[in-house]
């Protein structure tokens, strides 16, 4: 260390020796009394000055004229010598003494080294120090960024910032020091301890927390919703059952019972496929019911009702029918089950053979007299296959029937009958479905309960499924023994077989799979039929294309007409589809290359036509005029004043769920829309003049999107949400209207303190800060650079 210092000093010395002092002081004040010396000095000066006049030797050398304390040992003066001091000269005397060897060595080293640069000027030095200090301080200042940011963003700031922070600590301290003294207090504390009531955070006990954890809110909500739905359904069913029970119509009950039976049977069929064991159980149950019936001798002509009917039967057709039905039922129920044997068919045949006489006998017995009407009817009905036969065996028998179909004439006959009855059933099903479809629209407009709607859809689905199954069976050409309904349309020609179905599928083609049920049916159709239809479709499409090229509207009409020709009842359903159809047809138009017809046209038309054709081709599909007209129509519709329904639900009647406003009331409180003046663009076909703008209101409306918002929706959203107590609960109102800055009157607000930096949250990262800074126009240059680096 020491050596280094001396080395440095020596370096300076050498430097001094070489360098020439540029700053020279004039000789300081000389003592007054020594005049002789003074005179000499003056003379010397004069000489020097004369010497300077030649302009070569301008250096003036410093003169030390008096002893001073401030003389530095390093500032060796070379004054008077007239020449520069050389290091070698200084070193001369050292040579002799050996004790200064180390110094000599150092000096040698110094000689080899480079000289130090000139020290910076004062201004420069100050500038550097200023810059360093500034950088350091601005670096320090960044610690305030999160605090400042937090305060700028804060929804609410409460001043003075340092609230009495005593309270937070206070609770713990107080509780720690305080002890229960009175017996009551002790008791309470015991109780609290037993429940592990936390003292500092007394919101929830551990038990409560656990229970909260056990079920999340969403789960609970879901479960609650489920329960609610179930309850609603239950009450609905109850209500329905009650209603149905009250109905006095016997016919209705009869139908109901039949339906139920059918359903049970259906269920059983399904069950048999899915779960044979339970199906067996079910079968056993049915057996039991049958046995009971057989034992109880019900459905015979013994009862009071039956007797009365017997009396009535002579005169009343209805009574006769009822009688017959009862007898049939009796027959079904009391029929003894046969053990499934090897040759089913024989048995069937036998049964059929034996059927007619049996029934005739019975009828004769039961009705107490020959009734040709009755007899005939009965005979017809009994032609239907036996239903109570064990289904498992019946299916087997069916398979066997298929095999031997050609051989046995009777079996063929049977099958035919069955098929017809089946078709009838399916027709009925379809009919009901159609009815539902048509009735759905008006019904929907009414305010019906959701539950009802659900149920309806459910029933629809069931129907569809049933139909599907039937179709499936039909396609395999197997007969099923489901339909119990009397086949009245026996005389129907078998050639008409496929007709309703085909029409429907055509429909489906037109609407391109809008009706799911129909589509399902389509899938199940035999291949040949499908192929045929496809051919037909292709033909249709070609036709369509041609037509479209000519004129679109005409084609639309055509489209509307064609199905109506095919089947009139479907017309109703077809009409709303017209619009959709046009869209679809447009699509097909775009999708299909118009190769064939265009080529033909090109061949026989001239240049101009081809040009037109090209344009047509280019703009195929976008019909601007039609679009515009559609738009205009929509605009007109939208601008029309609407009716206002002022009826208040629950006003003047009992409230509660399932409230339905009566039509009368609605009519009474319906404010009809005024006619209004004619639209301005009524006579201008190519113009839409919007009449939305209300000049009176426009004065109150914001016409430019204000600054911080980037989208109209954002701004509208802020306006839409009401903040008043009229629309919000008290708590929400308070929260919404909390002022940005709260000050306590009479309190001095001190400037923010250093310790607030520590208490500020650290999660506010730099990127967010940067964004915020940009938003507010505050930014820090260094941060900016960093952010930019990060950005890509």
């Amino acid at each position: 260390m020491n050596g280094k210092v001396s080395e440095k000093s020596l370096l300076a010395l050498s430097h001094l020796g070489k360098a020439v002092d540029s700053l020279k002081d004039f000789p300081q004040s000389a003592s007054e009394d020594e005049e002789a010396i003074d005179g000499e000095r003056n003379h010397q000066k004069l000489l020097e000055k004369i010497g300077y006049l030649d302009g070569k030797n301008r250096q003036r050398l410093a003169e030390r004229s008096e002893a001073s304390l401030q003389v530095s040992e390093f500032s060796v003066s070379n004054e008077g010598t007239g020449e520069q001091l050389d290091l070698a000269e200084l070193l001369g005397p050292i040579k002799s003494s050996s004790s200064l060897g180390t110094v000599k060595k150092q000096l040698k080293k110094v000689k080899n080294k480079k000289t130090v640069d000139l020290p910076l000027s004062k201004e420069e030095r100050e500038r550097i120090s200023r810059e360093a200090a500034y950088n350091k301080i601005s670096q320090d200042m960044t610690k305030w960024d999160p605090v400042v940011l937090k305060n700028r963003r804060a929804a609410q700031l409460v001043f003075p910032l340092e609230q009495d922070g005593v309270l937070e600590n206070c609770i713990g301290e107080v509780l720690g020091s305080w002890k229960a003294r009175t017996p009551l207090e002790k008791e309470i504390f015991n109780l609290l301890h037993q429940n592990k009531q936390p003292l500092t955070d007394p919101l929830l006990t551990p038990v409560e927390k656990e229970s909260l954890k056990a079920m999340s809110l969403e789960e609970a909500k879901q479960r609650r919703a489920e329960l609610q739905k179930a309850r609603a359904l239950q009450s609905y069913y109850e209500a329905r059952a009650r209603r149905e029970k009250k109905i006095k119509s016997k016919k209705f009950h009869k139908v109901l019972k039949k339906r139920n039976d059918k359903k049970i049977l259906k269920n059983f069929e399904e069950l048999r496929k899915v779960d044979p064991t339970s199906a067996l159980e079910e079968l056993a149950k049915m057996e039991r019911a049958r046995i009971q019936e057989r034992m109880s001798l019900k459905h015979q002509n013994k009862g009071k009702w039956a007797k009365s009917k017997v009396i009535m039967a002579k005169y009343d057709l209805e009574a006769r029918k009822a009688m017959q039905e009862q007898l049939l039922k009796n027959k079904e129920l009391t029929q003894k089950l046969k053990v499934p044997s090897d040759s089913e068919h024989d048995e069937d045949a036998e049964e059929e053979n034996g059927l007619i006489p049996d029934i005739v006998n019975e009828v004769q017995i039961s009705t107490d007299g020959p009734n040709p009407w009755m007899q005939r009817n009965h005979g017809i009905t009994t032609k239907t296959p036996p239903i109570q036969k064990e289904p498992l065996s019946s299916e087997e028998s069916e398979l066997e029937e298929d095999e031997k179909a050609n051989e046995e004439e009777e079996a063929l006959l049977q099958e035919l009958i069955e098929r017809r009855s089946l078709r009838k059933g399916s027709e009925v099903d379809q009919g009901s479905q159609k009815q539902e479809l048509t009735t759905k629209a008006p019904r929907r407009t009414e305010e019906t309960e959701e539950v009802l709607a659900e149920l309806r859809t459910l029933s629809e689905q069931i129907n569809k499924k049933a139909k599907k199954r039937q179709d499936g069976e039909q396609s395999v050409n197997s007969s099923s023994a489901v339909s119990k309904e009397p086949s009245i349309q026996r005389e129907e020609q078998p050639s008409l077989d496929e007709r309703p179905e085909r029409v429907q599928t055509m429909e489906a083609l037109d609407t391109l799979g809008l009706d799911e049920a129909v589509q399902e049916q389509k899938v199940l159709e035999p291949v040949a039929e499908r192929r045929r239809r496809r051919r037909q479709r292709r033909r249709e499409e070609e036709q369509e294309q041609e037509e479209e090229q000519e004129q679109e509207q005409k084609q639309e009409q055509e489209q509307e007409h064609r199905p109506s020709k095919q089947k009139s009842p479907l017309k109703k359903k077809k009409e709303p589809m017209a619009a959709l159809h046009t869209i679809i047809s447009g699509k097909t138009h775009q999708a299909n290359p118009l190769s064939a017809p265009i080529v033909v046209e090109e061949e026989d038309c001239d240049e101009d036509a081809t040009q037109r054709q090209i344009i047509k081709e280019a703009f195929a599909g976008d019909d601007v005029i039609a679009d515009f007209q559609k738009d205009k129509l929509e605009a007109e519709k939208a601008s029309k004043p609407k009716e206002i329904d002022l009826s208040l639900p629950g006003w003047g009647q009992w409230g509660g769920p399932g409230l339905v406003i009566s039509a009368r009331k609605r009519r009474r409180f319906l404010v009809k829309a005024p006619k209004g003046s004619a639209r301005k663009d009524q006579c201008l076909p190519n113009v839409v003049i919007s009449e939305k703008r209300n000049i009176q209101a426009a004065a109150h409306q914001v016409n430019v999107l204000p600054f911080p918002f980037t989208h109209q929706g954002q701004f509208e959203e802020t306006i839409k949400v009401p903040v008043g107590a009229t629309w919000n609960t008290q708590r929400a109102f308070q929260k919404l209207t909390a002022p940005r800055i709260v000050t306590r009157p009479g309190y001095i607000i001190e400037p923010i303190k250093e310790k607030d930096v520590e208490s500020s949250p650290s999660h506010l990262g730099p990127p967010t800060l940067q964004r915020e800074a940009r938003l507010h126009g505050y930014s820090h240059p260094r941060r900016k650079g960093r952010a930019l680096k990060k950005a890509p």
Partner: protein, 445 residues
Amino acid sequence: MKVKMLSRNPDHYVRETKLDLQKVPRNYDPALHPFEVPREYTRALNAVKLERVFAKPFLASLDGHRDGVNCMAKHPKSLSTVLSGACDGEVRIWNLTKRECIRTLQAHEGFVRGMCTHYCGTSFFTVGDDKTVKQWKMDGPEYGEEEEPLHTILGKTVFTGIDHHWKKDVFATCGQQVDIWDEQRTSPICSLTWGFDSISSVKFNPVETNILGSCASDRNIVLYDMRQATPLKKVILDMRTNTLCWNPMEAFVFTAANEDYNLYTFDMRSLDEPVKVHMDHVSAVLDVDYSPTGKEFVSASFDKSIRIFPVDQIHSREVYHTKRMQHVISVKWTSDNKYILCGSDEMNIRLWKANASEKLGVLTSREKAAFNYNLKLKEKFKYHPQISRIARHRHLPKTIYGQIKEQRIMKQARQRKEMNRIKHSKPGSIPFVPEKKKHIVAVVK
């Protein structure tokens, strides 16, 4: 069978005591309360109208000075005390609750150039044209005692401003240089200079207490660090800055009141461009003071008005003036964020409400809720033309009104000229200079 009956829990409608409020069941179904936006709009319109109706900000005038009020100081511990120094060297201490002068002392000969209070509120300092710094006791002299300063420091040059450190027994004066003094010594701890010019005001940063800002007559603002005894940076503006004020909540932000009618809010870390240029005054801005919340500041101007600016906005939210108020030289925002004091040429100190339409006194909770709601509504619908028009409307003296118009025309002309110049010259040859950068001449390191 389920039997449904009407059943009510008495807890829901029976009061425990008759002093309880009646429970009013309320159905918040939005269907039952339609037209929420129009209704709220109407309410907002009413609120903003009422705000204008009740906007009576002037509270009191404190008269007693016999010359223009040149400077003021807030008491750091007492809200009701304020000090003022006049151009005749008189210092008065006022009680704001009584609105009267509680003490008068002849502090200097000539102007009282600046005054500040000690951070603990026991004494205050004044500087005057007589080249002295005097420290005075806050409490008046005892009976029979003479009114004398605690200390008097005789300086070599005139002091033009003074400010006290917020935590230490240190104060800073300015004149030809910025001097930092220890209270116990008669010579400054250090003198900070950067060039030669007369410095008009010096202010300590209230948060980062070792940083000072000063503004000099050669149009610059200089920042200093007291610890390192060096200046930090200098920014030169178009025109002279009269005074500056630090934001008490944001350590690195300060606002400078400039002769060119504008105020400039700077971020200390990037002086090459102000964060905001606040422009509404029509004459030189003489003084500025931040609200203690740091969200707004008030400025006093030579145009005989004071204005309140939100920190992050260009234009003022409020302008106060009276017929008799002349050039406002000094302004202060009281420490409870409620009032504004301004001292003007015509010897009066005026007390204003910081929020013009605020109701003074204790508010009931319902009143508070109503005010909060109205405030929220005004904020929500502030972009609607009718509401903003009413909220913006102020009556101005003819002179100010005329000058505003005139200056608008001038500004437009300048803009037009600039646009024309850009239009008719080679593209890119005349750069577009944003408003913020226009007023900054240079930043000196």
